[in-house]
Every structure is written in structure tokens, then in C-alpha cells.
Amino acid sequence: MSLFRLYSAALARMNLRAASLFVPRRDRADWIAEWTAELYHLCHGCAGGAPGAGPFAFSLGAFRDAFWIRCERLRSATRPVLQSGSAPRCGLVLTAFAAIGFLACLSLPRARTALLPIHALPPADLVMISSAGYAGVQSPSIPLENYQEWRTDTDKLFSQIAWYHPSVRNVYVMHQRTARLSIALASANLLGVLGVPGGGSPARSPNGARLILSRAAWRSWYHSDPNLVGRTASIDGRPVPIAGVLPDDDNEQLPGGMEAWLLEDEHALGQLPPQARGFVFARIRGSAFPAPRGGVRIMTETRAGVTPSFKCISVAWLARQPTSNFFFALLLACMALPATTALPLGDYRDRLALSVRARRWVFLALKFVLVLAVVYPTSIALAWGPSLPGSTAVFLQVATAFLALLFGFRWILEDQRRRCPQCLRLLSNPARVGQASCNFLSWNGTELFCDRGHGLLHIPELATSWFSTQRWLCLDSSWLCLFPETRAPSPGMV
């Protein structure tokens, strides 16, 4: 043997050793033995002209062998999970849908606030006053003159009251740029009423005005400048100090989609037209005005012989509303479910062990939980993600959640009835037996069987007193030879 061939064989042996490290430990010895034997014959016999027949090329092929073994292992490990109709696959698909729903919800700022109200749960005594009822929650409904009267007249009802009016103003921002921002002209105590801690920098303009930016405006117009507070912004040519940046949670609970709040004293607000409409927030006095029952309490006042009514809507209730809507839709779906499908799951008493029955019920419960986890965030994302009026969003959420839950629950029950109680895989090969019009008293219906030979499911075509619901028939092990999936693996199985 030439020196070159010796060198090549030594290199090939090293390669085989390296490739064997990628082979699972259980099969490693077998593969090394086969590779080594083949390499020996390759080196000592006639190499022939086959491609890849040189020792080095042969040893490189060992890496492909090792890669194939790994892929086979992975495939066989994931096969039961990914197999069509298997219970793990069903769970995985539902989990994936739930994850997509939650991600969609978290990616939309308004939907995120609706989904996770705990972070931004407002004070219990904070209410929003609207003249248009719940529909007025998302649009300004209270004229300035009403607010000014309530400031002095409602001391016994409210400990604090604040108002803001949405407008669009030209604001000079960084780098010689002017932007048109949605700015709320607000009473100076707005942040205090909302319970925002701090209230920003004490810097104020000579007339007491100060500007609070939303976090989104701070990011987009001022590039998240950490030294911004204390500087002066120019609003329609009027210099106003920037007093702070409002956290996202506080910003998103305020209607109107404002980018900044110009907090001014009452004298400056008085320059606005008396009919300018805005949003009113107030803190109710617990002694004189009990917390709104069911989230809403009606306040009336008589003026010039007319008694208009205003609704005091709890802001905490508004924050919890998406969850309340979901539970309402859940209740409706549960009530409507028996009208769309039969509730019994069938007769499964035939020789089923307690653990098998328990697993089947756990799987059913898991499907219910996962469907709830899919529908809850999805309905919130659909209804509260876009900027829709409050009542429209509520209707949309209830409608989508109700329909999705109803059809989801219906699917759960039908899916459960079509599964083998032992392996929880979907039954297959439906066969129609009999014809009711020809043999009325004989057995008519459909039969399905489990691919793994666990049993047969009989579904009657006509419910009778002796066969009213679907019935499961267990097959003993003598039937297993008929089912290819239960054959013993070949002795040489990798």
C-alpha cells in the first residue's frame, strides 16, 4: 500500500470517528463497526471506479449517514405529535392559534390595554361624565359651560373634576421642524384627577400652561430625548414648557387619541367658546354619591326648566369591560349551544379503564380552555384594536366572541365524539350500515374504527329506545393483526 493510501486511510478513520460523534450513542458502535469494516475492504480491496469510492470520499459519506440518522430520529420523535388527527397535534394547533391571538392583541396598543387592564387599573372613584351615554365615551360630549358650572356647583358630589378639549395645533419640534399634533386643551388638575403620580415638572409658562407629551409623540417627534423635560415647545407660536411624558397605560385610558396635553388654568380655558365640547373626568365623593352600580350612574340637573341627564361611568368598569363582554358572550354561547348540537358524548362504558376515561375528560377540558384562550384575545384584538366608537367595539366584541365560542364549543363536542377514547386519535373509514327505509327494526347507522385497532364506534341513524346514542365497542388484541399501524417493528429498525 502506498504512503498516500496509508495517509488517506488514516484520515478517513479520523473522519469516521468524528462522524460517529453525531450518531446517537445507542447506534454508534454498530455504525462504527460497519463503516470500519467497509473502509478496510475499500483500502485493501479494489477501489473500482465507483464515485465516492476513495477512503476519504467514503468517510465524508459517513457524515451524511449520521445526518440522516439524526433526521430519522427527529422524524420518529415528532411523528406521533404531528400525525394527522392525533390529540397532541390538535392541542398544538389550538395553542398556536391562541399564541397568534395573544400576539395580535399585544401588538395593538388599544387592544393590549383592554387585554391587560391590571397594569392600568384606574382608581375606583374615578368616573367619566358623558351626555351621550356609553356612546359618548369615545367622543367629546360635555360643553365647556357645563364643566364650568359643575366646578362650582357639584362640590358635594365630586371631590375633583377636570375637562379637556381635543384640538389640532402646530408645534415646533426638534431640528427646525413643525408638526401638527393632536393636543388636548385641558384643565390644570387633569393629571391629579386621573391619579397620575408626580404630574410632571413644576416648570410652567408665565400664564401657568405646561405641556405633557404622550410616549408615542415623545418617541416619534423628539426621538426619545431623555433631557426633553424642562425645554420649551412652541405651540402656534406660543412658548410652553414641556413638563413630562405620560406613560402608555395612562395615555391609552384617555379617549380621543391625544398626542399631547396642554394643561392650562381656568382663565385660559375660559377663552374657548362656551359650546366647545370635551371630556370630563371626576372623582366622586363616597359619602354623597355611592360608586356607580353596574359601572354607570345617572346624574340629572334642572336648568331653565329642562332636566338633562348625564351618565357617570366608572373608568375602572370601562377598563374591565372587555373581560365582562367576553364572559357575557360566553354565557350566551353556553345557552345557545344545546340548540346547535347534542350535548351527550356517547356511551363509552365498554371496558374502558378509569385512567383512559380520565384522560379523555382531561383532553376535552383542555380543548375548552384552549378555545377560550383563542377567542378571548382574538375578540379583543378585533374589537378594541382599531379605533372604533365604544358601543361599536362592545357590539363587535360580543358578536365575534359569541359566534366564535358557539362554533368552537360545537366543534369541540363533535371532535370529541369522533375520537378513539383510548388513543384519542380521530376515527376513520366511516361505513354506512343498513337502510332505515328497508329494515326498520334492524341496525342502521354509521360505523367508524380506530386505525390502531382499539375499537369500533357505532352511530345510530335513528335514535331508538335500545340504541339512543353512539356506542363504543372495544376490540381485543386478537384483532390487532388487521391494523397495519399496530404491527411490531422489524428487528433491524433504526
Binding site: A33, A37, H44, G45, G52, G61, A62, S490, P491, V494
Partner: protein
């Protein structure tokens, strides 16, 4: 595996090579021209599907020849039946790698 199972072209060639008497991996490589990284996985797959069987050579025989023992492959009954079915799909297979019976004829 059922007799009418569809094998890939590579697997069919490897099966025919083993049937033709090329009973170990390197011999199959030489006969078919397939590289080592293809032949061994194909043989493992065929073995898993019950079409071929492997058997290690006796250690005493290998020791007598002062070489490592070798792994030999042979067709099972199911493998032979599958191969007969495969000839209809790949008619040239038998002529490309003639079986011992054909060689004798």
C-alpha cells in the same frame, strides 16, 4: 410494507443490487455508483421496512482472515415480492443490474 409499496428509484436500485448478490454496502456502492452517504441510509430504510435483513459475519471467520467482521444484507420474502412488483414500474432495473438467475441464463 405491502408488496405494492412504491419505492424511490434509489431504493429500488439498492434492493435490486442486493438481490443480484451485492450483499454488503461497499459492493452495492461499486455496483450502483451511488455514494456512501446514500447507500447506507437507503439500506437502513429498506431494513426498517422489512424488505432486507442484515447479519453480522461471525467474528471467528473475520479473525481468521485478520480483518474486521462485515455486515451482510439479504432480501426477505417481502423484499422479493416487492422487487417483483417494482420491475413493472422500473422495467430496465433488471437489465441494469442482472440477478443471479439472469446471469446464469
Amino acid at each position: 410494507m405491502p408488496v405494492d409499496a412504491k419505492l424511490s428509484h434509489t431504493a429500488a436500485i439498492v434492493l435490486q443490487a442486493i438481490h443480484a448478490g451485492h450483499v454488503y454496502g461497499f459492493s452495492v456502492m461499486q455496483m450502483t455508483g451511488l455514494p456512501s452517504g446514500t447507500v447506507y441510509p437507503a439500506m437502513r430504510r429498506l431494513e426498517r421496512d422489512g424488505l432486507i435483513l442484515s447479519k453480522w459475519e461471525q467474528q471467528s471467520i473475520a479473525d481468521a482472515d485478520q480483518r474486521p467482521p462485515r455486515k451482510y444484507y439479504r432480501l426477505t420474502r417481502s423484499g422479493k415480492a416487492t422487487l417483483q412488483a417494482i420491475y413493472q414500474r422500473y422495467p430496465l432495473l433488471e437489465r441494469m443490474i442482472p440477478s443471479p438467475e439472469e446471469q446464469r441464463a
